[in-house]
Symmetry: C2
Subunit: 575 residues, 2 copies
């Protein structure tokens, strides 16, 4: 099938044109199941972000439809997610009171900024910037964020007024000090919800299988567990009127109706203030979403286009900004549910979005008596799966520096908050990266027997001459390693005062950047003033072409460019 | 000679123990000449930093002596320099009024912070962090800083009150609007000073050589030009009492006496506020100093220890903080003067420091009538040599991305100031770096004829089998390139649905970091679920040892580890 030009920008055109109605049953089932999972999650994560529950529902309508059109993954389910919601709360917490109109407006600006960042990165093909985040950093970050999120829900579970912005240690002290003030009905509801969620998760699947459901269907139905708990507890709470009789906090009235058309305020000071937070949320959202999308795509031998993902996520977040939603990205558990419930195309996501739109239109009164403690329990059960100390252990055994990156990121998130944590993580990744890249492998080589082969003097029995130093760098030369090879060569000639010629073997050098060219010229000058001539050997064609555009080869004189190391040795009387 | 343990920490012990009195005449001459150059420079750069002139002189006494003891360079001359002084002015400008007691105290804190940063980096052996700054970024930064410095001196040259903090375009507009307010005597003094400085620079050397001085001595004496101009103009200004009769601004009284013992205030808020500026100044100072030290050392086949340089510069800056000075680093022109005037050891720097101490004790009254316009002229002549548009041109021809880095850094310094400029420069360097590193060279290989050699299918005529895909990555695997090779392999198997086995040839892989290991495991799982088995071939010993510490090899099953690509092909029935 030919690829229409528009398909390059709107991948949906591709799957829509070739849509086969055999795919429809899978898409429909997946759409329904995902919606059942998403409704409680969307409300819960919205509250976690400090926003009213409907904002999370709005974010599950327009943004996923836009992602369905512009994203490249077939099965990624987009909406509010836990870690990004915590980052939203942390970004907006100092600007306005959670839940206040100013806070909601600022959330729209944040969504718009995140969308713009992602879209610009996608158009400029900057997907490689996700490399700023290494796996251990991402794992340490997510684990710590999950613990912070779990603790942040304790106030809902216990019905305690833990002061906003309290650190974990302060929150724990507060709880110990005020445990007698906890609301007993709230605690009861929390305990029942947590117990039900755990029991459903562990035993519901096997029971379903025993009564004859297939493993796939059983596993998918298990994911609807939170919805069962929501329905059951809401029924109980409505029946007993605990909110009126015993002070149980419930979700309350959610405005009915489709998402409003909103316009993120253009207040330059606010945009500027939120820019860094937005960039960090964009980065984390992107890395998470692509990781999930890639896992799912590879299971069916489909491709993910990283830059198209940026465009899809960017447009989705812009959609959130204009439809009263909060920032969105791909969620792990819901994408897996969507995929294993049979989603073949993004039509499943569109069906999910339509079902959520229906529930916002007609079913919001049903959530009036839903206790917030139930949503808190759902959040806790969802995020505890993200805590991954095993990754630390594996890294510790395999690579101490990766384990250190994990630990530092984890510790900084716990001590200094989620934004500083991700900044510290990126910083550490970069430092490890620079450290690693700043030391290319360098070998001093000599002749093997009387052959034309030259090998590392440390590993092979080779012959050398005192007046010739032949050095091979096994990496392209660029600014991160210029200092190292400069130093290496200068040190070598200091240690061997009888050296008169340096032969620089370029067989493994694919490119020389501007910094390295300048370093080489400086090195040549320095060596000249120390009475040493610098020669090149085995320079690759493309490298030579670029050198010839500069004055480098004149500068090299009396140094020469030899075709091979053998010729260099012959010309320098080292036989 | 044996190396005493203390020499590792105090390199001066080395050259002091082995000091030969043959070195003394050179050290003495260099010490005197450098002092003559340094006195006017120290005062001028101090005024540029917004500090009283004596602060620059204090910074030229204790810090260079400390550097002499702890630094590893034999010829580096340490003291206040132009670019760092501009950065100091920019860091402190928003905190206090230049020259006020608060401003001077903040400068001490800044010196202490810079010293601590450098010292900690040195002790932790983080010298490689200087790789954050590529040559084009450093060149664009210095060029723009030099222009900013030159413009900042116009107010002294013209005797105009250009508002503090004005951008270059605002300053130019102000000058055009107020040119009639310029002080005529000040302008006259400036023109004469600039003319003398240029004439001395260009014609003094040839004249000296014609009357019989050697080229080396002539070139060195030329460097004393600024001191001649200072003496001549001060004499003129004192004789005519222009400061009283015509409003010429003069340096005025400088307190006599040795540097005071000062204690940088421990005000946590101030330390925190100055931390980023201090880190940036430390980075720039370090990169500059090491570049100069390395050039000079290599001329005499001496070595520079990058981490020891950090210690030396760190201790020097701490010394500045405790002796009333301003931040210091190695200066290019004065180090070259010191070196070419014959400095053999840091004794020359100690002699310079003693001479400056003498002049602070006894000669400060002589500078009373020194016009500030003369110091401004000295600054302008000194910094204009730093503007290096040629570097832009060379980079443009050789490497567009390096030229872009130069231009962006230059433009951001001009538009947003010196700190944002260096931050932008570091950012661009890192992005270029990541971009470059994120795309390792990958080849799909096939068998050459019926040999046991395997080569890139794009470059050689080779035989392959449809069910086996053999891939060779020509770089170590680590987090910056994991996404690329993952994607590459997943794309390749999507394009070739008949592939059942992937053979991953590790002959060029020296290390696999934690992120890459995790990616490989994920890739193996993904490939399994797509019905493809993943095998390794030609794994190096150290890499294999580390893999065996994990569960990777169990995870790999039924994939195998083959000794060679040939064996892999044989086992997979691809002959």
């Amino acid at each position: 099938m030919t690829v229409l030009p528009i398909e390059k920008f709107v991948p949906a055109v591709g799957w829509l044109r070739s849509y086969s109605f055999q795919d429809f049953p899978g898409d429909l089932t997946a759409g329904i199941i995902t919606a059942i999972l998403l409704v409680p999650q969307a409300m819960a994560y919205s509250i976690l972000a400090g926003l009213p529950p409907e904002v999370g529902l709005y974010a599950s309508i327009v943004p996923p439809i836009l992602y369905a059109l512009f994203g490249s993954s077939r099965a990624l389910a987009v909406g509010p997610v836990a870690v990004a919601s915590l980052m939203v709360a942390s970004a907006l917490g100092s600007l306005a009171l959670p839940g206040s109109p100013d806070y909601i407006l600022a959330a729209l600006v944040l969504s718009a900024l995140i969308g713009l960042f992602l879209l610009i990165m996608g158009i400029a093909k900057l997907g490689f910037l996700a490399n700023f985040l290494s796996h251990p950093v991402m794992s340490g970050f997510t684990s710590a964020a999950a613990i912070v999120i779990a603790f942040s829900q304790l106030k809902h579970l216990l019905g305690l007024d833990i002061p906003r912005g309290a650190r974990i240690d302060e929150a724990i002290l507060y709880i110990f000090g005020h445990i007698t003030d906890a609301n007993s009905i709230t605690v009861t509801v929390s305990v029942i919800s947590l117990a039900l969620l755990f029991v459903l998760r562990r035993y519901f699947g096997p029971i379903l299988m025993r009564v004859g459901f297939s493993e796939a269907i059983a596993n998918t139905l298990v994911k609807a567990g939170p919805m069962f708990v929501v329905i059951f507890m809401t029924f109980l709470s409505a029946r007993m009127l605990w909110n009126e009789t015993a002070g149980l906090v419930v979700v309350g009235s959610i405005p009915a109706g489709l998402p409003p058309l909103t316009l993120p305020e253009f207040d330059f000071a606010l945009w500027r203030e939120l820019a860094i937070s937005a960039a960090l949320i964009a980065l984390v959202s992107f890395v998470e979403s692509v990781a999930i999308a890639r896992v799912l795509a590879s299971k069916r031998r489909q491709k993910i286009d990283v830059n198209q993902e940026l465009v899809g996520l960017g447009v989705a977040n812009l959609g959130a900004a204009f439809s009263g939603g909060s920032p969105v990205c791909g969620g792990f558990s819901r994408s897996v549910v969507n995929f294993s419930a049979g989603a073949n195309t993004q039509l499943a996501a569109i069906i999910t979005a339509c079902l959520i739109a229906l529930s916002v239109l007609f079913f919001t009164p049903l959530f009036y008596y839903l206790p917030q403690a139930v949503l808190a329990a759902i959040i806790i059960v969802a995020v505890l799966g993200l805590v991954d100390f095993k990754a630390l252990k594996v890294n510790w055994v395999y690579s101490k520096s990766d384990a250190a990156a994990w630990l530092v990121t984890f510790a900084v998130v716990m001590a200094e908050g989620i934004e500083m944590g991700i900044i510290a993580g990126v910083g550490i990744s970069l430092i490890l990266f620079l450290w690693r890249s700043s030391k290319p492998h360098i070998a001093i080589v000599g002749r093997v027997g009387s052959s034309e082969h030259f090998r590392n003097i440390k590993r092979h029995q080779v012959r050398t001459c005192p007046h010739v130093l032949a050095i091979r760098v096994d990496e392209s030369l660029f600014f991160a390693n210029t200092r190292y090879f400069e130093n290496y060569i200068l040190s070598a000639i200091v240690d061997q005062p009888e050296v008169k010629h340096v032969v620089f073997i370029c067989s493994a050098i694919n490119a020389i950047d501007g910094s390295a060219l300048e370093s080489l010229e400086q090195l040549i000058t320095d060596l000249k003033s120390a009475g040493v001539t610098f020669h090149l050997a085995e320079v690759k064609g493309p490298v030579m072409d670029r050198l010839q555009r500069t004055h480098f080869l004149e500068h090299l004189k009396p140094g020469e460019v030899f075709l091979s190391t053998h010729e260099a040795f012959k010309a320098l009387d080292c036989v």
